[in-house]
């Protein structure tokens, strides 16, 4: 289903277009009845810790976006997350992300993946930029869209 797109190329284009420090892409993989969500593609990452993580629905950034189906915008990690809760967001810690947004990727009206765009500097992911990313997602990301489509 998704083999027809070169995702590494797509996220590289994202990195260049928005000049972000990190782009990561998580997809669900069908494993019997369960959902297995893993960060399969990344560019700009410091280490490979994020690729080892198997995400749980409802937990962490990808988990929350995946479960709610809504995009997430955190302009400043330092002020919005207390330091002692931060370890619940391993990707933020290991990649030293200070400002980010995460979007659901829909296909056939189901969340198929999560796209994360992150900066290592505070307040760089502004609301305007966040809006722009959402607005352009169907252009930047062929065959996927960012919102649930109303039926009919």
């Amino acid at each position: 289903m998704k083999n027809d797109i070169d995702f590494q190329k797509v996220i590289t284009a994202f990195k260049d277009k928005y000049e972000v420090d990190l782009v990561a892409l998580a997809f669900i993989q069908p494993a019997q009845l369960e959902y297995v969500l893993t960060w399969q593609y990344a560019i700009g990452n410091i280490n490979n810790r994020l690729k080892r993580i198997v995400l749980q629905s409802g937990k962490g950034i990808a988990g929350q976006v995946f479960k709610s189906g809504k995009p997430m915008h955190v302009p400043n990690v330092v002020t919005e997350y207390p330091e002692r809760d931060l370890f619940n967001y391993p990707i933020i810690v290991s990649e030293k992300i200070k400002s980010f947004c995460a979007l659901p990727l829909y296909r056939k009206n189901k969340v198929q993946g999560v796209l994360l765009l992150g900066y290592r500097e505070e307040d760089k992911m502004t609301y305007e930029l966040f809006e722009k990313v959402i607005y352009n997602i169907h252009i930047d990301f062929p065959k996927y869209y960012g919102k649930e489509m109303a039926k009919n």
């Binding site: 810790r49 993580i53 198997v54 290991s94």
Partner: protein
């Protein structure tokens, strides 16, 4: 000063000397004891007093067991008495007292007549002060423990509410909807959807249960429980734990296994939160009737002498307490930029 005022002062001084709760010892330049007040006589053993009055060398060591310096609680290094180069205007000293044994005293030792070289040693009993301080420490720790307990309950409650209750509710709605579905295809699709949702729920409940206390710890033992915990850590946080166990599946007392498991869990979590590493080494082995757990990372480390807490400050304290519960010893070695090593010894003999 008028004669009158002077004699008043002398009277006051004598009164203080006779009735004070502080012990006074006056020494001449050769460290021979000149005078001591009644309370001092009560504290110190008569033989020791006689030896000091005679000016025998090191006679004070019969009662003084050492003082607290920056490296040791009880030390004789740079003795305040025989070699008073540093400032000894206030320090803690340990005295072997008459009948009661070794007690801590707050002391000051200084020269009051530089021409004759007369010196005075003043002692004040510290027992009461220390008791108060210990109680204060205990009370504040208990407060923190209660708070931590409440936080933990809050977390579990929230998790139950957010994941378990929510998934059940969604399944319930699906179930109610079934009545109104007409075609068998629709029903089959709904059933499939519910099955997936219930499987997810089962998974989440299992996860929570293991997080609270792994049943494998009771059923399969420490070796297996740690192995599955490390797998869980890697899956959830991406931290790789290199695990070397040489106990060959051996089982220990339940309380020992719990202590090892919890201390290991806490250490790994510390490494995860603060060390800025993505690999940790864990070794578990037996040596000379000791069970030894070693957790090493080469992260940013921390200054063990500085009490600056990044978290609640209860973690390390709890680890030490747990180790002591089974008569074990925990040591934490770390310095800035040199990584951290946690070493746990649990004696297995005499049980």
């Amino acid at each position: 000063m008028t004669n009158n005022a002077h004699s008043e002062l002398v009277d006051s001084l004598i009164g203080m000397y006779e009735n004070s709760s502080e012990a006074f010892f006056f020494f001449n330049k050769d460290n021979k004891l000149l005078h001591l007040n009644p309370i001092a006589k009560e504290i110190v053993d008569t033989d020791a007093i006689d030896a000091m009055l005679e000016g025998q060398e090191r006679s004070i060591c019969q009662t003084c067991k050492g003082y607290t310096n920056t490296t040791e609680l009880i030390s004789c290094e740079n003795c305040y008495f025989s070699d008073p180069k540093q400032d000894f205007s206030s320090f803690q000293v340990y005295l072997d007292t008459k009948d009661i044994g070794v007690l801590p005293y707050v002391a000051s030792f200084h020269t009051i007549d530089s021409e004759k070289g007369t010196k005075v040693l003043i002692l004040r009993n510290l027992t009461k002060l220390l008791e108060t301080r210990e109680l204060l420490f205990k009370n504040t720790t208990i407060k923190q423990i209660i708070k931590a307990q409440e936080d933990e309950r809050k977390r579990i409650s929230r998790e139950l509410h957010d994941s378990v209750a929510q998934e059940i509710l969604s399944s319930l709605v699906d179930l109610r909807l079934m009545k109104y579905l007409k075609s068998p295809e629709e029903v089959s699709q709904k059933v499939q959807h519910m099955e997936a949702s219930l499987t997810r729920l089962l998974d989440e409940i299992r996860n929570m249960s293991v997080e609270l206390r792994p049943s494998s710890l009771d059923d399969l033992g420490i070796e297996a429980a740690l192995r599955s915990h490390f797998k869980w850590i890697e899956k959830n946080y991406g931290l790789v734990v290199h695990y070397k166990s040489e106990i060959k599946g051996k089982r220990f007392l339940n309380e020992i296994e719990t202590v090892v498991y919890r201390i290991c869990q806490e250490s790994i979590l510390n490494a995860l939160k603060y060390a800025d590493v993505d690999e940790v080494n864990v070794e578990l082995y037996e040596k000379d009737d000791n069970l030894i757990l070693k957790i090493v990372d080469d992260g940013i480390g921390f200054d063990t002498s500085q009490r600056v807490f990044k978290g609640t400050g209860l973690g390390l304290f709890g680890m030490k307490e747990r180790a002591e519960l089974v008569g074990g010893k925990l040591s934490i070695m770390s310095s800035m930029g040199k990584g951290t090593e946690v070493l746990l010894y649990i004696p297995l003999k005499e049980r």
